[in-house]
């Protein structure tokens, strides 16, 4: 099992402790609040992931051979979602990020956020994280 897969399992297990949607969302909001924030200098259009309603900024850099992500959003639920993604994907090898699936989003009861009509752009967030990984893979190689 890859490291990302292990973290996904952990997250699924954490969320399974909650009985209802309200607790899950409260937890996600907490995760959003504890997200290590992106450096202010990266909160520009260059780093934005465009959704229709909320804004998300993501920055990536390489530390040794691993990709490190930081992010922020103007909406707290969106921030919770990107926090979960970053927990799984940050400090991982580029190839592992590229290969990772994101079944845990579905399993923790956030499936509706995966729908392309939902405006928060979760699909775009995953795509952007993977694009960074693709860019850094060439650097590693």
């Amino acid at each position: 099992m890859s490291k990302i897969e292990e973290i996904q399992e952990e997250i699924v297990e954490e969320f399974s402790m909650f009985d209802d949607w309200m607790q899950r969302y409260e937890y996600m909001i907490e995760l959003g609040k504890s997200l290590p924030l992106i450096d202010e200098q990266y909160k520009t259009d260059e780093y934005i992931i465009k959704g229709c309603q909320s804004k998300v900024w993501v920055h990536a850099n390489m530390e040794e051979d691993k990709v490190v992500f930081t992010a922020d959003s103007d909406a707290i639920i969106t921030k919770g979602i990107i926090a979960i993604l970053i927990r799984a994907f940050s400090h991982q090898h580029p190839q592992d990020i590229i290969d990772a699936d994101t079944h845990f989003i579905d399993e923790i009861g956030l499936k509706e956020h995966l729908s392309p009509t939902r405006a928060n752009g979760l699909v775009s967030m995953i795509k952007q994280l993977k694009l960074y990984a693709v860019a850094y893979r060439t650097q590693v190689n």
Binding site: I29, Q53, I76
Partner: protein, 414 residues
């Protein structure tokens, strides 16, 4: 079996009305649906759904060209619907009613036609509270013709600055565009004053009535408006149908918007002559069923009566404003003296998306975001709002659910 209207001449009873709307019985995320996104699209009563089912079950056929019975029946029903629409808006003649695919389509049809009437140095005036559909086609028109787009400003309460409007008018003004009701703020604009003032300088006026049509019965002759556009789906009808009213004198002058079947008189490879109104603007097979169902939707609304539903919606607006205002930190955008039942708000610095997402989990449908009216949000310097828009089938108990829901969301997010 088609459901007949049970509401004619009866006193307004919301519970009876609600039985006409099957969708209001469903649950969303395990909770009874509270539908407060009526400004985006209204719900459809069984009486209109029955007309749609009846059309496809009994007389689905293409119109105007067929000699067979089904085609005759469909043509009759479609043209009857046009007459119902004409009478509803008090147009002088049925040919002034063009059936389109929606408000946006109607606006584009007119904007396209005016390409031939504008030139550099001309000015067009647009209100500051338009949504994108009533901005972008005019920007494109100005790019094509070299005309200048000027904006009628608004106040912080969300009312148009009529003095600034009067000052902006000049003989250079060729067109004025304004919505009857703002989708994001609910403001009812003084369109009669705007039309009269625009006519004094010789400008034509297009009124976007999409947000007004479910609440206000517009009389296009009394208004003396040149063009009035609406969408059927906001007034209990189907999606994909719009109405463009145009004065015959204008519609005769405008060139056809699209070429195709139905809109022609004679076609040879050398030259085509065009059909008269309204067919000149109705190329191809229209949304036949949708047009017929729009007639049924207008019958439905008129059976309730616009005075009755407006009075009830005003009660909902007053109650909703009062109850929501009790939430600490809640700010309402759009406080015009004259407004329809739309409450656009934010709470403190919370993002509207967060509140909307949590309300959805509670079965409450509201709109969040910029409501396709980004300039309005820029004006208030906010990313968007939470917008609750009410219809005559909503209740005070649903407003109570919304207030509790917002409070619960605020507690979770703070």
């Amino acid at each position: 079996m088609t459901k007949t209207s049970t509401i004619s001449n009866a006193p307004f009873d919301v519970e009876t009305i609600r039985r006409d709307f099957p969708i209001l019985n469903r649950k969303v995320n395990g909770q009874p649906l509270v539908y407060f996104d009526n400004a985006a699209t209204g719900q459809t009563p069984q009486q209109v759904i029955d007309v749609i089912v009846d059309y496809y079950s009994r007389y689905n056929a293409n119109i105007h060209r067929g000699v067979h019975s089904l085609s005759q029946e469909a043509t009759d029903a479609y043209e009857q619907a046009r007459i119902k629409i004409q009478k509803h808006f008090n147009a002088a003649q049925p040919k002034e009613i063009i059936l389109t695919a929606g408000t946006t389509h109607g606006i584009n049809l007119v904007a396209n036609g005016f390409t031939h009437f504008l030139q550099q140095g001309d000015e067009v005036l647009l209100s500051a509270m338009e949504h994108h559909s009533n901005i972008v086609p005019w920007q494109m028109l100005c790019e094509r013709t070299g005309a200048t787009l000027k904006i009628i400003p608004m106040t912080l309460k969300g009312e148009l600055e009529m003095d600034a409007f009067a000052k902006a008018l000049s003989p250079k003004t060729k067109l004025v565009f304004v919505n009857h009701v703002s989708n994001a703020l609910g403001t009812i604009n003084p369109i009669k004053k705007i039309i009269d003032a625009a006519h004094e300088v010789g400008a034509a006026v297009l009124v976007d009535g999409a947000q007004a049509a479910p609440h206000i019965k517009a009389d296009v002759q009394a208004l003396d408006v040149d063009f009035y556009v609406v969408s059927a789906h906001k007034m209990c009808g189907p999606t994909g149908v719009g109405i463009l009213y145009g004065k015959a004198s204008w519609l005769e002058k405008l060139p056809p918007y699209q070429g195709g079947g139905e809109m022609i008189d004679q076609v040879t490879f050398e030259k085509t002559t065009y059909a008269g109104l309204p067919h000149k603007f109705e190329a191809g097979t229209p949304n036949i069923c949708g047009g017929i169902a729009t007639g049924a939707a207008i019958d439905y609304l008129n059976a309730i009566g616009f005075d009755t539903l407006a009075a009830y919606e005003a009660e909902l607006l007053e109650y909703g404003t009062e109850q929501l205002s009790k939430i600490e930190g809640l700010k309402i955008y759009g406080e015009a003296a004259e407004k329809t039942a739309v409450i656009s708000f934010n709470v403190g610095n919370l993002h509207p998306y967060d509140i909307g997402t949590l309300l959805d989990k509670m079965g409450i449908a509201v709109r969040t975001g910029h409501h396709c009216a980004q300039p309005i949000m820029d004006f208030f310097k906010i990313p968007g709002t939470v917008r609750a828009s009410f219809a005559f089938y909503n209740t005070k108990a649903e407003i109570d659910a919304l207030v509790q829901g917002v409070q619960r969301a605020v507690n979770m997010l703070s």
